[in-house]
Symmetry: C2
Subunit: 366 residues, 2 copies
DNA sequence: TATTAGCACTCGATTCGAGTGAGTGCTAAC
DNA sequence: GTTAGCACTCACTCGAATCGAGTGCTAATA
């Protein structure tokens, strides 16, 4: 059977109505709609067809129809196409409605703030983005910290904080900074310290994790003479700073919003979702899946997972809309909104696009 | 009316039974208990008295009794006294059952790990503690990062990472480290850098936030000559590191456990609690209240908030058991367990005490 | 005088059945 | 191909009946 124009219209009507009311929609409701010149009986026939095609379903015999996952799918796909088309258009028109982050932009006005130690301030930004998305949409939101490429050592410094303590500061590519304190028994004079610093920087600067092998370490130790033990500690710290695959930071917000939607608020669902939001662990699959999808088919960058399509088990009754954001320098992360399957996809996609544009601008203005 | 021995026994029986079953307990249930040689009628009379005294109440006329908040209070108070007594005993006996953190202790065996950059590793420890408490008790848990006293500058260092970037590293009392990157237009040679470092350390080292006033800053700037702009930046960073009243970090775990207890799992309650756990903001009042309470009456360090006693509005149907932990050096924080009013206080208090002992040992072994 | 047996009573919870209404599928007429 | 009409389904609501755990009170008992 074919999904002709009329069936498509009816499907749309059903989906839209269901998104609004959250209740199964009957044939009479549809036939009474303004631009619908058909009787309920006709609608019923078409509905029967749509059901046969797996696009809608009945909760029980004497109820109206609700969209099936597949039904949502065709609805969303069409919407995405429309958004994409619009996107092309607006890109040439250059709308300037991205005001929401303006206070942040303000904060970033002075040059110093901008190049700041990423770890600290980025976290605040991400939390803010998550919160804004959640409050804007009334759904739950998540955002992953961008994956930073950082496998090259940029700078090492040993300094003496007090007589018995040394501080090792390591800067790696991407301006990620790691500190480590090392207690020492024997006091080192300034000269030795300076020598060690020069030695370490000349030998290790610019190297990646793979390049720092045992041979090299041994060589440096030899050069360092009696301070080999200290050198080991320092290189250790450096290695940790480079390799440490810090478990993908993810921030969430608005978890409580799930209670707004009865279909998610029952104990079973709520408990599972809350656990997912708390552990964050499970959300990584969502991040990965989004990045993959984006790579394989780079479109607007928006992806929608309906029900079971989501890689996260506990979200089988939810829909997830994700996007990939970029903060320049190839730092990419994933941001997403999680809500009931009958979420307002249009609004959510709009909010995400707006947010991504804001993030884009934020770092483009550097 | 007086709370004589028999009334007390009956009250205990009611509370204990209610903690177990979660259902109102009737006179017959009590009279049938092993060590109870009274008829249900007598129990009923006593119950009427207890109700008059405000220690128990009836959900409705034809139901059994449940403990009132006041009833819980006397129950818990007695338990706390008992615990305190036991505590005295076990302190001289020196039991050695604190095994739960042993893997962590293992990790801290090698000396280096121990003095490590607190920020990073402490966070993991705290998260682990929270999770362990939550899984041990099946309630929700929270832990606040210890408040560090850090108002004295210990060490400042400016170093050149690359031609256009300087790195300022500030260490303050308590070995908290702050980094900040500063972009510079004009290149600084090593000598100037060294001079600046010495200048800053001699003038600022050991000073507290109050002591770094505008006059001093002006004086330093003058000494620094043409690098006054840079000096401003550095002092800025230092000041930030000292004062920054970083909004009291709090970690939570096991929020989903609230769904185990029907009296907390209804939408209203659950939504409120989840929001509280997510924002963490509201939990600060709990931390403060605990520290205050601890200060005014230093006992076992355990405090119990029953229902409305808790300073957190959303927890009016919960009980909260908190404790103050200490990681040496006067670094104190608060750890707590949040559950239904009918929580197993004994188990929770036990778990908290055990955890505190483990934390104590962890840092005493330094 | 304190305790207990007995009894009427209360009231939430559960069950049952009737009634309601939104919605369907099918058939026959247009 | 569309529509009016009709019998049918089934979740939902509501009130009545029943159940039973538990109470308070009274009178008898040790």
């Amino acid at each position: 059977m074919e999904l002709d124009e009329r069936k498509r219209t009816i499907l749309h009507a059903i989906v839209r109505n269901y998104l609004e009311t959250g209740e199964p929609v009957g044939s009479r409701t549809i036939s009474k709609m303004a631009d619908m010149a058909l009787s309920s009986a006709t609608i019923r026939n078409e509905m029967a067809d749509l059901e046969e095609m797996g696009l809608i379903l009945q909760p029980h015999t004497s109820a109206g129809r609700i969209p099936s996952d597949l039904g949502y799918r065709v609805y969303v796909d069409e919407m995405l196409q429309r958004h994409e088309a619009e996107g092309e258009q607006s890109r040439s028109l250059q709308t300037d409605e991205h005001v929401s982050l303006e206070d942040r932009e303000q904060a970033l006005q002075d040059r110093e703030e901008r190049l700041l130690d990423r770890e600290a301030k980025l976290e605040k930004l991400l939390k803010q983005v998550a919160r804004m998305l959640a409050t804007d949409t009334n759904y739950a939101s998540m955002i992953s910290a961008p994956m930073v490429r950082r496998n090259k050592l940029k700078f090492i410094q040993i300094s003496r904080v007090d007589v018995s303590t040394l501080l090792v500061t390591v800067v790696v590519e991407g301006n990620v900074i790691k500190n480590r304190m090392i207690p020492v028994a024997d006091v080192l004079d300034d000269e030795t310290l300076l020598k060690l610093n020069i030695l370490l920087n000349t030998r290790l600067g610019g190297l990646s994790a793979e390049e720092i092998n045992l041979g090299l370490i041994a060589a440096i130790k030899q050069e360092g003479g009696k301070h080999s033990e200290l050198i080991t500690s320092v290189i250790d710290a450096a290695a940790e700073a480079i390799t440490e695959d810090e478990d993908l930071q993810i921030y969430t917000s608005g978890a409580n919003n799930i209670f707004r939607y009865p279909e998610l608020a029952d104990k079973e669902n709520a408990s599972g979702l809350i656990t997912t939001f708390e552990n964050k662990q499970d959300l990584t699959s969502l991040v990965e899946s989004t990045l993959e999808g984006e790579a394989s088919e780079p479109g607007t960058g928006i992806q929608v997972y309906i029900g079971g399509e989501s890689p996260v088990q506990s979200m089988k009754d939810c829909s997830v809309v994700t996007a990939t954001y970029e903060l320049g320098e190839g730092m990419r992360g994933t941001v997403g909104v999680i809500g009931p399957k009958r979420m307002d996809y249009d609004k959510v996609i709009g909010a995400l696009k707006k947010m991504m544009r804001a993030l884009d601008d934020l770092y483009k203005k550097t």
